[in-house]
Amino acid sequence: MILALFEDAGFILTGYIVTFLAVGALAWRVIRSGRNLAKQIPDDEKYWT
């Protein structure tokens, strides 16, 4: 019973952790790459500024 609960918890936590790690990694990559690109472009070429 306890082992089964641990197995369930392991799978569920893995699902949540992988999901949030994927979302976090994607966000981090977008911010970092965006900053690198933005350094190469003058402000007047950035339509969002």
Partner: protein, 287 residues
């Protein structure tokens, strides 16, 4: 997007004095709105963890594995929406007079996040399947069509990376974006069309009546809000990134063309100079 006739960049310029005024002081793709969205996304994700793992109860039939549902269902719904936005933007690019590349970038950014969400749906579905069915994968109608959807949009992203001009890229990926979206009804109704292991829709069912406990439904809605906020945040950043990538590519192309033109002019001048140096027959000789 403005086409630059100045091929110098802030990092490679040979005229630092002139370019000092053009150096970017706003070296980010973020704005106040995206920062607000980012904070709202973090708060919503926190709520999702709280409701998904702590506050919502175990299901009578599925037990604790029902907690996958709060990620699994919202990610595929947001993925469907992402691909619908991709199709809409593709249509807007193809069928408007302006053929704005902004639509193409929106289509690309939306498809990227959609692919990530489908991957997460497949992953959480496999883990749920292992707990409930005792197996990670089954070639069931819903699972197979979802895998097909995933592969199709991976193909769409690969097509976007093929060579050619920005408008060539936009045109061919827009056609694919419009065709690929036709898979979504097939995926969603696959459980009704074929005999399937996968359960039928609980919330988005045919009669529109959600057969689910209140707090469980609320937890799913928290998931939908959290992933939708992240979707908007990501698309805003990513479209800005794509615009800058296109601009840098244009500049590189312009610089290469200028270099080739300069080489051509030099070559022509060299030929003319050598012709002028040659003494023409009959000219300057003894008469």
């Amino acid at each position: 997007m403005t086409h630059l006739d100045d091929t110098s960049t802030a990092t490679t310029s040979s005229t630092p004095g002139a370019d000092a005024e053009r150096l970017p002081s706003f070296a980010t793709t973020g704005t106040r709105a995206t920062r607000f969205l980012g904070i709202a996304t973090l708060v919503a994700m926190g709520w999702l963890v709280l409701f998904g793992l702590v506050l919502s109860p175990a299901d009578v039939n599925q037990g604790e594995s029902v907690r996958f549902f709060y990620i699994h269902a919202p990610t595929i719904w947001v993925a469907y929406n992402s691909f619908v936005v991709t199709a809409f933007s593709s249509g807007a690019y193809l069928f408007t007079k302006k053929h704005s590349l902004g639509w193409d970038r929106l289509a690309g950014a939306s498809a990227e996040i959609g692919v990530v969400f489908v991957a997460l749906t497949l992953l959480t579905g496999a883990l749920w399947g292992r707990l409930t069915w005792g197996i990670f994968w089954q070639w069931d109608a819903r699972l197979t069509t979802t895998a097909l959807l995933f592969a199709t949009y991976i193909g769409y992203l690969a097509v976007r990376r093929l060579g050619g001009s920005h408008h060539q890229r936009a045109k061919r990926s827009a056609v694919l974006g419009l065709l690929s979206v036709l898979l979504i009804p097939l995926v969603h109704w696959s459980v009704l069309i074929w005999r399937s292991l996968h359960q039928e829709a609980t919330v988005l069912d045919v009669d529109g009546d959600a057969d689910i406990d209140g707090i469980m439904l609320f937890s799913i809605l928290v998931g939908v809000v959290a992933f939708s906020l992240f979707y908007v945040w990501f698309v805003l950043h990513r479209t800005r990134m794509l615009a800058m990538e296109d601009l840098i590519e244009e500049r590189g192309l312009d610089a290469a063309l200028d270099a080739r033109r300069a080489e051509g002019v030099k070559a022509v001048e060299g030929i003319e100079a050598s012709r002028a140096d040659e003494t023409p027959v009959g000219d300057g000789g003894p008469s």
